[in-house]
Symmetry: C2
Subunit: 214 residues, 2 copies
């Protein structure tokens, strides 16, 4: 019996590729590629920095990944453009299935567990209109997902045993990290991607957030 649901934020509730329109406006014809590359590097940097034991807040990692991506693609970006694009990360769009699903979830304890540093995630959640019992950031631990201590943070802060926590992510590696830790996991596979091969199986694979509800 699950007493709490813990959600990943970026890519799960919030569409990280909603920055694409802004990128496209600044660099016509390159927005989609930049958005994809930026996200890929952002995640790589979280894993590499965690392993190097050189944590930096997600806001820093996100900026670094943007600058690298622009350089790789040969796109010039000045200080003002950089700020314009980074500001988009504080007002990412919710996926269309999020609001209807969250309305039905009122009975369960609901939290966010995110790589996002407080300076990024707090304004984002505030402007979304969504309400959570807790918004937990890896920043408290200075290591990124999928390190097991990150998932332990939800156990500690929600004071709920891991056996009673359902974890919801669209990032397959994040869902599998949570499974390896001991949560019951739901992978929101909106894109119809294959399951990552990391030695664990997901508990439930769904196409949208509504399907995780009883």
């Amino acid at each position: 019996m699950l007493r709490a649901l813990v959600f990943d934020a970026y890519g799960t509730l919030f569409d990280v590729h909603s920055v694409q329109a802004r990128c496209e406006a600044l660099w016509p014809g390159r927005g989609a590629q930049l958005s994809q590359l930026w996200r890929t590097k952002q995640l790589e940097y979280t894993w590499q920095r965690s392993l190097m034991r050189r944590y930096a807040p997600f806001s820093q990692v996100t900026e670094d990944a943007l600058l690298f991506s622009c350089e790789l693609m040969g796109l010039r970006i000045d200080k003002k453009e950089k700020q314009t694009v980074l500001d988009e990360y504080r007002r990412l769009a919710l996926y269309p299935d999020v609001v209807p699903a969250m309305k039905k979830l009122k009975s369960a304890k609901c939290a966010i567990l995110t790589n996002g540093s407080p300076d990024m995630i707090e304004p984002l959640v505030a402007q979304s209109g969504l309400k959570f019992d807790a918004v937990l950031s890896v920043d408290a631990l200075r290591v990124f997902k999928p390190a097991p201590e990150v998932y332990q943070l939800a156990v500690d802060r929600l004071q709920t045993p891991k056996e009673e926590i359902g974890f919801v992510s669209s990032n397959c590696w994040d869902a599998l990290g949570a499974k390896s830790f001991g949560f019951t996991v739901y992978w929101i596979n909106r894109a119809g991607a294959p399951v990552d091969r990391l030695g664990f199986a997901l508990d439930k694979i769904v196409k949208s957030l509504d399907e995780i509800l009883p």
Copy 2:
């Protein structure tokens, strides 16, 4: 004064994309894309498994990444084809600058420090004709690069202080991980890529292995 040179293997001495021809023969028109995706997933899995504390040998990770990549690209792969492609990883081509550079390096202590598990790296080095004073695998530690304990392995096994070790890699994040640990690092930037933004600077950026020599 550097008393030992430590080389990364995959992507630095051995061209991981020499599997491309075999992939192309099996799946015409898809070889380059498969080779790129396979390498990307292979590295992602090393980082994710390390953070999850679910190490698996590089041979396993490499197979998992191949199967994921085929599935994502909609390519059917049977057991024999899988083995054919994986066998290529045990006879990857050397980059053309490697043999001339290694001949000039006879005076220094030379070692390999690799993510590769012994079942992969030992046959690969044997068939290359190259000679090293040591071939060190992360498999002894059950964690992948860029964890600092991996670089410490070279210090311990070569009995050489880190201040006297030069580390050579074409993988920028690996060179930066080695820099974060304390080695003098050379990044072989054959592709003319931008420097990764991980909070450290490289000691020397060169286009080919010859340029690291005195």
